[in-house]
């Protein structure tokens, strides 16, 4: 299931274990609840963390809050460095976003007229 908290969507999975215990996975991180901690009588959290995703990928981020007013590329396109990717408009002004990298567009995560937040990933390249 997906849970939206403060504009961010998280992937959540719940599975029941024996004796009222539950395993909850949030964005690939696993937590186990319901084990009685004998000393304090509190709920103990067992954490098995999966290594974080690699964010050093080629991503185009929104420099400021704004609205996507035009997209010039599509998924699968090859783009050069400094090639025009999209227009981000904010406060009646327009900002041309160019590619910081050379590569193939793997994913476009926004649509025209969509409102985006600062640092939100707009386009992923490979």
């Amino acid at each position: 299931m997906k849970v939206k908290i403060r504009d961010k969507v998280y992937d959540v999975e719940i599975s029941e274990l024996e004796e009222g215990k539950a395993k909850i996975i949030v964005d690939e991180k696993e937590f186990i609840f319901g084990e009685k901690n004998k000393e304090k009588g509190k709920i103990a959290i067992a954490k098995t963390s999966i290594p974080k995703r690699d964010f050093s990928k080629k991503e185009i981020l929104a420099p400021i809050d704004g609205i996507i007013s035009e997209i010039f590329v599509k998924e699968g396109d090859f783009v050069k460095k400094n090639q025009k990717l999209l227009f981000l408009s904010s406060m009646k002004m327009e900002n041309e976003l160019v590619s910081e990298f050379e590569g193939k567009i793997k994913e476009i995560l926004v649509k025209k007229s969509q409102k985006v937040k600062k640092d939100e990933v707009l386009i992923r390249l490979i």
């Binding site: 539950a22 909850i24 949030v26 406060m91």
Partner: protein, 511 residues
């Protein structure tokens, strides 16, 4: 017919400005709000007598003629005040208002239609002997037209949208440039215009980089035409005004009277009725060239109000309900000096890049000779949807020097945190020798390199609400899960009253 109830088809400071005058006149007001839950960001909803929700997001909501007329009918208003921007110059909207028996507070739609076309407006001016800048005599529709007019006018020139306004859809071309480049720029304007305005034709006009921007405020009831003096709006960036003052240091009494007469002559020719502004560019030799008529209340109107004591919104309403202007030109007393600084959510250090965000601290200035028009308050969201105007800070003194020292003092007091603003820019500007001496033109911001001297704004980044970690989310989910489990097993617990209520009941039994 006297006006009893007005729908304000706008937002922010101008919505509040209009509501305030309406209250003073005993007129009921209706405000708009984009969506339910957004009331705290649109404080006009709490100042007006009632408010209604729009249907579309951002500016689209305020441009939604169908919905706005629907609200007007539902709220039983007799008039709509459009403010500035959005529908203020939309003749089709004005016409639809009339059709629906609602007064549009502004000039007649036929006048709006005429003035919307910048070329037509210039032709009227030219006809009655008001100088205009060399320009292409019609829309440019082909590369051939473009070539012809570039050769005729030569750079520097500006490419302007035929039906633009508010500085949108203007590009200056300074040096030598290839036709191809000009064409690309023209296409850029088209694209930008199709967002802001319905029409995308453009024309070419000679550009004066070393000019003063001076405009005259006119009011007319259709018979009497009065001028309320000039406003100099020379300090600009991207053809958008930053600071306005009245009077202008550049005009002597003779030139002032002469130009005011020309402005009145033009509006008489147009049979203008209402409040309007005639804009001119003035070159170094004090030659005046007509730019355009703004058939609406303008952002910088408070400096005229400060100098004349005349409420321009009140005049708009009175003229709309058919009243005659109750004073004559001789009754208009001009006194002192007024300056307005536009406090914008823009970072002057980054070429006035827009800076949406959330206001974390807000402490407004006040005191003698200071007026503040704003919608700001702490925790206000500054949306990227709307323009960047946060506040209009106006100072009024007996002369320019006094107005400047008051403005300086007020800028020092003014505290806005959460987003960078233009406050540091004005602090530097008010110390600039050329500005103080009146030796500045529309290219001042670039030419003076003043932005290099603007001190950086400690980006007390909007203290980001702490990012919620996965663990915290897992815990929340577990709590929900646990509660669900509980209710499954022992449903009667649902009805168990809280401890507090129970304690109260027990007490009753005890006594």
């Amino acid at each position: 017919m006297s006006i009893r109830k007005i729908l304000i088809a706008n937002r922010g400071e101008i919505a509040l400005r209009i509501i305030r005058t309406c209250k003073e006149m005993g007129i009921k007001t209706v405000a708009l709000c984009p969506q339910s839950g957004e009331e705290s960001n649109f404080i006009e909803t709490s100042l007006a007598d009632e408010f209604y929700y729009l249907e579309r997001e951002g500016p689209q909501g305020y441009l939604d003629i169908k919905r706005i007329l629907e609200i007007a009918k539902k709220a039983l208003v007799d008039s709509i005040h459009p403010g500035y921007g959005f529908l203020a110059e939309d003749w089709l909207f004005a016409k639809l208002c009339e059709k629906n028996g609602i007064k549009f507070i502004g000039p007649h739609f036929k006048i709006l239609k005429k003035l919307e076309d910048k070329i037509e407006a210039k032709e009227v001016a030219k006809k009655i002997g008001i100088p205009i800048l060399p320009m292409s005599d019609g829309s440019i529709n082909s590369l051939r037209d473009l070539r012809k007019w570039i050769l005729a006018i030569r750079p520097p020139f500006v490419l302007k949208a035929r039906k633009g306004g508010g500085g949108i859809g203007i590009r200056a071309i300074n040096g030598e440039i290839s036709f191809g480049e000009v064409f690309t720029i023209a296409l850029g304007i088209r694209r930008q215009m199709s967002m802001a305005f319905s029409d995308t034709e453009f024309f070419l006009e000679k550009y004066l980089p070393e000019a003063k921007h001076i405009e005259f405020q006119i009011i007319s009831d259709g018979k009497n035409f009065l001028h309320l003096g000039e406003r100099e709006c020379t300090i600009q960036r991207r053809f958008q005004k930053l600071l306005e003052e009245s009077p202008s240091m550049f005009l002597d009494e003779k030139k002032r009277e002469e130009t005011a007469k020309l402005a009145i002559k033009l509006l008489k020719e147009l049979r203008y009725r209402g409040v309007g502004t005639v804009e001119f560019l003035v070159d170094k030799d004090k030659n005046f060239y007509f730019l355009e008529v703004n058939p609406r209340i303008q952002v910088e109107h408070p400096i005229t109000e400060a100098r004349t004591g005349i409420d321009l919104v009140e005049q708009q309403i009175r003229i709309s309900q058919g009243e005659k202007i109750k004073f004559s030109q001789d009754d208009v007393n001009f006194s002192g000096w007024a300056i307005e600084a536009r406090i914008l959510a823009e970072d002057p250090q980054k070429k006035f890049q827009p800076t949406p965000g959330k206001i974390t601290k807000y402490l407004p200035p006040g005191g003698q000779g200071i007026f503040l028009h704003t919608f700001l308050h702490e925790s206000q969201e500054i949306e990227p949807y709307f323009d960047s105007l946060l506040a209009k800070l106006i100072s009024f003194g007996k002369d320019r020097e006094e107005a400047i020292s008051k403005l300086k003092r007020a800028l020092e007091e003014f505290q806005i945190e959460g987003v960078p603003t233009t406050i540091p820019f004005f602090k530097v500007l008010l110390e600039n020798k050329d500005f103080l001496e009146g030796d500045f033109f529309t290219n001042f911001v670039e030419k003076s390199k003043i932005l290099e001297r603007v001190s950086p704004q400690p980006i007390k980044e909007v203290l980001k609400e702490k990012e919620i970690g996965e663990e915290e989310i897992a815990q929340i989910i577990y709590q929900i899960y646990k509660n669900l489990k509980k209710t499954e097993k022992i449903p009667e617990e649902k009805e168990t009253p809280s401890n507090w209520a129970m304690a109260e009941r027990l007490k009753m039994y005890e006594s």
